[in-house]
C-alpha cells in the first residue's frame, strides 16, 4: 500500500460521517423521484380524463364517434388505429429484424459485422420527425403514384383478401404508417435479437454442426429455442415503441376518425390524435378531457406491453 492510498483509507471514515448520508439521501430521493413522477403522471392523466370517463361511461372505449361539434367522443378509432398499425409494423419488422440478426451473428464476414451493427444503432438514433418527413415526402408519393394504384387493380380484384386493398390511392393510410413504424422499430428488435443470439454457447452450435446440421437447422433447432423468450421480449420492446410513436405516424396515417376497412384507408392513432387536437382544446372542455383520457388509455396499453416484455426478458437475461 502506497502512502497516498493509506491517506485516503484513513480519512475515509471521517468524510463518510457527513458525506455518505447526504449522498445516500440524494440518491434515494432521485430514485423515489422517478416513482413519484410516474405515479403523478398516471394520476394527473386519470383525474383529467375523469370527466370524459364519467360523461361517456364504458361506451367511451367502444364508441367510434369523434365529433367535436356535438361534443361526442369515443376512443375506439384511435385505439383500433394504434393497435392495427403497431401489429402490422411488427409483422413487417420481425422477419426483417430476424434476417438482420441472423446474418450478423451467423453469416456475415467479421469485417462487415461492425459497420452493419453501427448502421442499425444509428437508425435507432434518427429523430422520429425525420422519419415522418421522409415518409410524407418520399414514401407517400411513391405509394400514391405507383404502389397503391397497381395493387388496387391487381390484388384488390381478388376475392376474400381483395377488399383489404381497395379505396382511393391517397398514399397515406394504415399500411404506409405501419411501414414507417416498421423501419423505426427494426433497429430495436434487430439489436436485441443480435445480442441474445450471441449469448448461445458456442459448444451447443458446434455440437449441432458436428452432427451435420446446416446453418438454418442450427438456427431453427438450437439458437431460436435457446433464445425464444428473450426474442419475444425484444419484439415487445419494439411494440411498445410503435404504440407510442407520434410525429412519424401523424404525417402518414391520413388522420381520419373512421375505422379503416382497407389497408390503404386513412385512420388515426392515440398519440397522433392527441398531438393534433391538443392545441385547439379549451381548458375544462370535454374534448380536452377526452384527449387526456386517451393518453391514460395509451399509458395503460404501453404499461401492459412493457410489463410483458420485462417478464419475458428476465429469465432470458439470467441464462
Amino acid at each position: 500500500m502506497t502512502l497516498q492510498q493509506a491517506t485516503i483509507s484513513l480519512s475515509a471514515p471521517r468524510r463518510s460521517s457527513i458525506g455518505d448520508p447526504i449522498f445516500a439521501a440524494i440518491a434515494k430521493a432521485s430514485g423515489l423521484f422517478v416513482l413519484v413522477l410516474l405515479g403523478g403522471i398516471i394520476v394527473v392523466l386519470f383525474v383529467a380524463g375523469l370527466s370524459a370517463f364519467r360523461a361517456f361511461g364504458p361506451g367511451f372505449l367502444i364508441s367510434d364517434n369523434w365529433d367535436p361539434v356535438r361534443e361526442e367522443y369515443g376512443a375506439l378509432v384511435p385505439i383500433f388505429g394504434t393497435m392495427v398499425t403497431a401489429i402490422l409494423a411488427l409483422l413487417l419488422a420481425v422477419p426483417l429484424a430476424f434476417g438482420i440478426a441472423f446474418y450478423l451473428t451467423e453469416l456475415a464476414p467479421t469485417w462487415l459485422r461492425r459497420p452493419v451493427s453501427t448502421a442499425i444503432e444509428l437508425l435507432a438514433a434518427v429523430p422520429s420527425i425525420i422519419y415522418g418527413m421522409w415518409g410524407f415526402f418520399v414514401v407517400v408519393p411513391i405509394m400514391a403514384e405507383y404502389v397503391q394504384p397497381a395493387v388496387i387493380d391487381t390484388i384488390g380484384e381478388l376475392p376474400i383478401i381483395g377488399p383489404l386493398f381497395q379505396g382511393p390511392p391517397f398514399g397515406t393510410g394504415i399500411l404506409t404508417a405501419a411501414m414507417i413504424l416498421a423501419v423505426m422499430i427494426i433497429p430495436f428488435i434487430a439489436a436485441t435479437m443480435r445480442d441474445v443470439f450471441d449469448t448461445v454457447p458456442a459448444v451447443y452450435k458446434e455440437s449441432a454442426y458436428g452432427l451435420g446440421c446446416t446453418t438454418w437447422e442450427v438456427m431453427r433447432s438450437i439458437v431460436i429455442p435457446y433464445t425464444r423468450v428473450s426474442v419475444v421480449g425484444g419484439i415487445m420492446l419494439g411494440l411498445g415503441r410503435a404504440l407510442g410513436e407520434t410525429m412519424a405516424v401523424t404525417f402518414v396515417i391520413g388522420n381520419t376518425n373512421r375505422i379503416a376497412t382497407t389497408l390503404f384507408g386513412p385512420g388515426n392513432t392515440i398519440a397522433s390524435i392527441v398531438a393534433l387536437e391538443f392545441p385547439e382544446s379549451e381548458a375544462g372542455s370535454l374534448k380536452l378531457s377526452s384527449l387526456l383520457a386517451l393518453g391514460f388509455i395509451l399509458f395503460v396499453i404501453s404499461f401492459i406491453v412493457l410489463a410483458i416484455s420485462r417478464v419475458l426478458l428476465r429469465p432470458g437475461l439470467k441464462a
Binding site: 407517400v140 382511393p168 391517397f170 397515406t172 393510410g173 388522420n255 381520419t256 393534433l276 387536437e277 392545441p279
Partner: protein, 343 residues
C-alpha cells in the same frame, strides 16, 4: 479606468433597456402569426414595444389569456359572448384573411375551374365523388374534367382555417350544417387529413384528383392551382385581394356584438365568399397596467402603420371605420384602478 468604462456601459444599457423596451407577450392563433411577427419587428424600431408572440393555436391562446399568463390572447374563431363575459375579456379584430380552394387536376390551370358552395359541401360530404360528375361538367364546359376520383384533403390538426372553411360549408349547405357543423375540427364524412397548410397542399399535390382548402397567403406564395367559387350574388369570383376587400367592406361591422362579425358568404357581386377576421383578447381587469397599455399602443401603431405589411403578406387590413370603433372600445372597456382609461 477600463473597469469604470465597462461598468458605465453596462449601466447605460441597463437604463436604456428599462426606459425604452417594453415587452409584451401574446399567444394563440397560428393564422395571423406571420403578420404579428412582422408588425412586432417594425413596431420595435418605431415604438420600443417588443412583442413576443407564440403561435400555439386559438384554443391555447384562449386558455392562456383566461389564466392571465400572457398579456393578450389571439383566436381565429370569435369567442362566445358568455365566455368573454365570464373571463372579463375584450375581443377585437386585427386583420382579415381568406381561405381558398386548391385542386390537382391534370390540364386544369389556376382559376379555370368553377364550383359552387353546395358542390364543395357535397364533395367534402362524399356525395360528389368523381371529377366528371354531371354537375361539375355542366358548370365547366370546355374544361377537361377526367373520370377521376375526387380525393378531399382536410386539416387534421385543429385549426382556425378549418373553422372558417366549415363555417362556409355550413352557411351554404343546410345538410352540412345539420350533419357536420362548424368547428376547429369536425367529424369529416370523407377524405383524408394532413397537418397544417403545407400538409394539405402536399397531399393535394401528391394525389391526382385531390382537392383541399388553405389560407390564401399560402396558396399565393406557393402558386397553387386555385378555383373560382360562386358567391351569394351568383357571380363567380377569383380568389384575389380585390374580392377579399369587397367581402370585408360588405360585412355588418356595426351590428356585430364583440366585433364577432360574420364575413362568410357576404352579399355583393365582387365578394369572395370565404373571408374571416382574426381576433385579439385583452383582459378588462388588467393586472399589469403598463403592459396592457403597451398592447393597445402596439395594435394602435399596427392599425396606423401596418396595413402595407399586412397586404404584403396577403392579409386584408381592417376598414378604417372598424379601427375607429376598436379604439373606442379600448377607451370604454379597459380601465385602470382609478377608472381612468388606459388607452
Amino acid at each position: 479606468m477600463r473597469v469604470t468604462a465597462i461598468a458605465l456601459a453596462i449601466g447605460l444599457i441597463g437604463t436604456a433597456a428599462a426606459v425604452q423596451a417594453q415587452q409584451i407577450t401574446g399567444a394563440g392563433a397560428t393564422f395571423p402569426a406571420p403578420v404579428y411577427t412582422k408588425w412586432g419587428e417594425a413596431a420595435k424600431a418605431a415604438t420600443g414595444i417588443e412583442l413576443n408572440y407564440q403561435a400555439i393555436g386559438s384554443g391555447g391562446g384562449q386558455n392562456q389569456i383566461l389564466n392571465r399568463t400572457v398579456d393578450f390572447g389571439a383566436s381565429d374563431a370569435p369567442v362566445p359572448a358568455e365566455k368573454l363575459e365570464s373571463g372579463k375579456l375584450l375581443q377585437f379584430p386585427t386583420v382579415m384573411g381568406s381561405v381558398v380552394v386548391i385542386v390537382n387536376l391534370p390540364g386544369v390551370t389556376s382559376d379555370q375551374l368553377k364550383v359552387t358552395g353546395e358542390m364543395l359541401a357535397d364533395i367534402y360530404a362524399g356525395k360528389i365523388t368523381k371529377w366528371n360528375d354531371p354537375k361539375l361538367v355542366e358548370m365547366n364546359k370546355g374544361v377537361p374534367l377526367p373520370n377521376l376520383a375526387i380525393a378531399p384533403a382536410y386539416r387534421a390538426d385543429g385549426s382556425g382555417t378549418t373553422f372558417v372553411w366549415t363555417s362556409y360549408l355550413s352557411a351554404v349547405s343546410p345538410d352540412w350544417k345539420e350533419k357536420v357543423g362548424a368547428a376547429t375540427s369536425v367529424k369529416w364524412p370523407a377524405g383524408a387529413g394532413a397537418k397544417g397548410n403545407d400538409g394539405v397542399s402536399a397531399t393535394v399535390a401528391n394525389t391526382k384528383g385531390g382537392i383541399g382548402y388553405v389560407e390564401y397567403a399560402f396558396a399565393h406564395q406557393n402558386k397553387l392551382t386555385t378555383v373560382q367559387i360562386r358567391n351569394k350574388a351568383g357571380q363567380f369570383v377569383k380568389p384575389e385581394m380585390a374580392s377579399f376587400t369587397a367581402a370585408a367592406s360588405n360585412g355588418d361591422w356595426a351590428g356585430a356584438k364583440n366585433f364577432a362579425v360574420n364575413l362568410i358568404d357576404q352579399p355583393g357581386a365582387e365578394s369572395w365568399p370565404i373571408v374571416s377576421a382574426t381576433f385579439v383578447l385583452l383582459p378588462k381587469d388588467p393586472k399589469d397596467l403598463v403592459r396592457s397599455a403597451a398592447v393597445m399602443k402596439f395594435f394602435d401603431w399596427a392599425f396606423k402603420n401596418g396595413d402595407a405589411i399586412a397586404s404584403g403578406l396577403e392579409y386584408v387590413p381592417l376598414p378604417e371605420v372598424v379601427k375607429t370603433s376598436v379604439r373606442a372600445a379600448w377607451r370604454a372597456e379597459i380601465k385602470g384602478a382609478d377608472n381612468k382609461p388606459l388607452y
